[in-house]
Symmetry: C2
Subunit: 514 residues, 2 copies
């Protein structure tokens, strides 16, 4: 055990105990950081350095944090500064005292070291790691070390299963009265592609239970929850969500408040920062959320394309096999759809612009994006089959009829009302067309850069911002014809996005006829 400084009343100790907690308002990501003055008694006496791990106790609440040392008087020697996440984790009351001690050793780090040294981990070891991650006992570098050790093909099938199980068990698990609960998921990377609201409307209208919990954007221009929030409230708690599902057979709500597989988001943030891909961690991430949400039958859409998340059919095959094997260990019925990921689906990229596409399809408007309509119908048909509501011959026709007759649109409106009331998104104040520089054919569309442009234009924080795609792969365009149109809520953001576009002429690539 390391030094725990309770019951110790000499000068340095008591001064630290009486330390004023101060909310510094610094967002350090998910890593809790504690700031101490270099001349504070505890820094001087303990020889702490930056990166030291400390335990903070306020009342019965405990927290581990990484130390940063303040070299000047902006923090007093009697003050204990907290980063934003640390403050929110401790939530100290006025005048509450803090006790600082060396962080006790985190036992599960022994398992991380074992994995680094190439040893297999058992169920208990993986559970310990995930539990400590959820309880914020890992520093960012410790998370990074675990991710590096568990990437590539370093996780066996059993380890992926146990990792998935641990991620489910360390969060909330929803249970539904119905024996058959369907769900869908798309392995992202494609701009637009907002099929979920359409699929939920069709599947629930045709009798299936589809309680969809979605995420907000982490690095994309819009998550499903961001888009749905343009049409209805999505910040429902578990009780409110259950009422919606009882009334409508389904919902499209933000899952963030429900604590489903909470380890996932923490791992994803570090994985993205490292840009490390791991099929085992991806499968655990996707399936843990579905299992925690109480799904029994799940369709996974895997778009394949050079700028999508999955870049080749070989990669998609490996992913599909592991998804099926792990799902089967949990008794989860799974169907993987490998789909075309060479270009965005739909026209809009950004919360409101994607919502407009969804509305156009549901309302059967003549200019509704055909690709989004077709992709949504394909996914809906697969869900109808998997859920036993149709067979392979009838499923697509059933889904299509449901949409064309307006039944899906009625159902969607009911869901919106049940979630708190339907809304109609507006349009951004500033638009600018990006035209083709020359006549020719559209030969490539860069999904990643397109998302980046939409984010520079303000999405998702500015919900009306983003872009609309005006040309698709294989189409012939004249010089000056619009390729895509930027939407922004401020001229500054519009200019930002345009500056990026001007330096990347091949976001939508037009090749002249030879």
């Amino acid at each position: 055990m390391s030094a725990q400084l309770t019951g110790f009343d000499t000068r340095p100790r008591s001064r630290v105990e009486a330390g004023q907690l101060r909310r510094l308002g610094i967002d350090t990501g998910h890593e809790h950081v504690v700031y101490l003055n270099k001349d504070s008694p505890i820094c001087r006496s303990e020889g702490f350095g930056a990166h030291s791990r400390l335990e903070l106790r306020v009342g019965t609440r405990r927290m581990l944090a990484t130390l940063n040392i303040v070299q000047n008087e902006s923090l007093g020697v009697d003050e204990v500064g907290l980063s934003e996440s640390a403050w929110l984790a401790l939530l100290p009351g006025a005048g509450e005292r803090v006790v600082i001690a060396h962080a006790p050793s985190v036992d599960s780090l022994t398992s991380v070291r074992a994995k680094i040294y190439g040893q297999p981990l058992d169920e208990g070891a993986l559970h310990g790691i995930v539990r400590d991650i959820v309880e914020n006992r890992y520093s960012a570098i410790e998370m990074a070390a675990f991710i590096a050790a568990a990437s590539g093909d370093h996780l066996s099938l059993e380890e992926v299963i146990w990792l998935t199980k641990a991620m489910v068990q360390t969060g909330t698990q929803l249970h539904w009265p119905q024996p058959l609960v369907v769900d869908k998921h798309c392995i992202g990377g494609l701009a637009g592609n907002r099929t979920t609201p359409i699929v939920v409307a069709i599947a629930t209208e045709l009798g299936l239970i589809l309680p969809k919990t979605s995420s907000r954007a982490i690095t994309s221009a819009a998550g499903t929850a961001d888009t749905m929030a343009m049409l209805a409230p999505v910040d429902l708690d578990e009780t409110q969500t259950r009422h919606v599902v009882e009334a409508c057979g389904g919902c499209i709500v933000w899952g963030g408040a429900m604590n489903l597989a909470p380890a996932d988001e923490r791992l994803i943030r570090i994985e993205r920062a490292l840009d490390v891909d791991s099929v085992g961690q991806l499968v655990a991430s996707v399936l843990s959320k579905k299992i925690a949400a109480g799904s029994t039958h799940v369709v996974i859409d895997v778009p394949v394309g050079p700028t999508a998340k999955v870049r080749s059919h070989a990669e998609a095959g490996v992913l599909a096999t592991l998804l099926r094997r792990v799902a089967s260990a949990f008794g989860l019925q799974l169907r993987v759809l490998i789909s075309d990921g060479t270009q965005p689906i739909g026209r809009g990229v950004g919360p409101a612009l994607e919502a407009h596409d969804v509305l156009a399809v549901l309302r059967n408007e003549p200019h509704a994006p055909i690709d989004l309509r077709e992709r949504a119908l394909t996914v809906a048909a697969a869900i109808l089959e998997l859920g036993g509501a149709a067979n392979a011959e009838t499923s697509l026709a059933m889904a299509t009829t449901c949409l064309e007759t307006g039944r899906a649109w009625q159902r969607f409106q009911s869901i919106c009302v049940a979630q708190g009331g339907m809304r109609t998104p507006g349009k951004a104040a500033y638009q600018q067309v990006v035209p083709a520089a020359q006549q020719g054919r559209v030969t490539a569309i860069d999904n990643r850069r397109l998302s980046r442009v939409a984010k520079l234009a303000g999405a998702p924080a500015a919900p009306l911002a983003g872009l609309t795609l005006d040309a698709h792969l294989g189409e012939t365009v004249a010089g000056g014809q619009p390729l895509f149109t930027l939407h922004a809520e401020s001229p500054g953001e519009l200019a930002y996005a345009m500056e990026y576009v001007s330096r990347h002429p091949c976001i939508v690539c037009v090749e002249a006829f030879s």
Copy 2:
């Protein structure tokens, strides 16, 4: 390429360019951190989040930094806050403007990912990684990912050789006019054991060249440079060091200012924070420093004991083999001494207290610690043999005579004078004896906890602080007889150390006779 925001003069851009650089004085370890207000134009427009990597440019100077976002008004929307290391790296002049852009991708991270996926790295890849680490292009989590991927037995012999070479090439390399330059190193973990000043005095007095560059303590109670600093100035630059070596054949200076294998310290800090051991990285760390310092013949002391760095003879054997193989690739003559690491060597632990031990041995004082004297003579004899100044039959006798006749002491004083003048360390104001609780035999001494006690008492920042060991393994002690004595410069630090001692009764373990 990611967005680089030069030549772009709309509102948000120009405000960021005009941003006031502000030194926040926050020590974040070696990771450069830039702080921006959440409402700053660049945060809002770019959708940056905590952990984003940014490039900062001031004049022609560039730096990568990790973003932390300030949620309140303590940082203005037009201000760009810098952590202490970031400020010192950029050193902006008054009124200089900063340009902020997305960090360009760091190419060598592709090699880190390849290693994570289990692929071997070639010489160029390892050089790229080490160069980018030295140039501070890696965030802490990226360093952690590399360390995890390269730990255990994940580095082949070739990879360890190339890593060592890269660490040498990315720093200063010293060259000496003499063809034969000896050096010594101890694979640490043992408290005390301050043989270096004695060994340098004997070896140089007997004609060898031993330009010793030492480190200050990173996590121990004293480094060789801390102890030597109690006896003479050690902060010499390369020119001053060369003058000392010309005059005396050797020196004992702080190597930190000379930029020898600078990647090493950065890697070590993250390795220690992760508590990950890797024999490959240890060998690269030790040998890169010796090669960079221009040594041709090196003796490595490997103390083995349950609380030393190397805990078993099997482990020591693996380490010795890899040390020899890598050394041989560089034409370095190496001798590994496996020694007893079951207890501290000498009495003092702490800069001044170890210096007193060194002086007592050099002056042949009657109460000089015999174990330190013997260990120093053993290492000196090995160096004399390896350097061709003696053979196996004569070396120990030659070293002993050199010490006993006072020649080593004369030589040491000459070195101190050449380094800037000899000093004599004082004694700490506060002492407290830790007595045996009962009669019995000393059966174990915990090196790690002993170091911890010395640090709690104030070492190395308080240079007179630490402890002196009053009993050794196997000795019989009476109840109440001193086991060790704490030395502190303040009563608070003394109390701190005593509190720890009171909770760990078996730092020096006395077993009653049965």
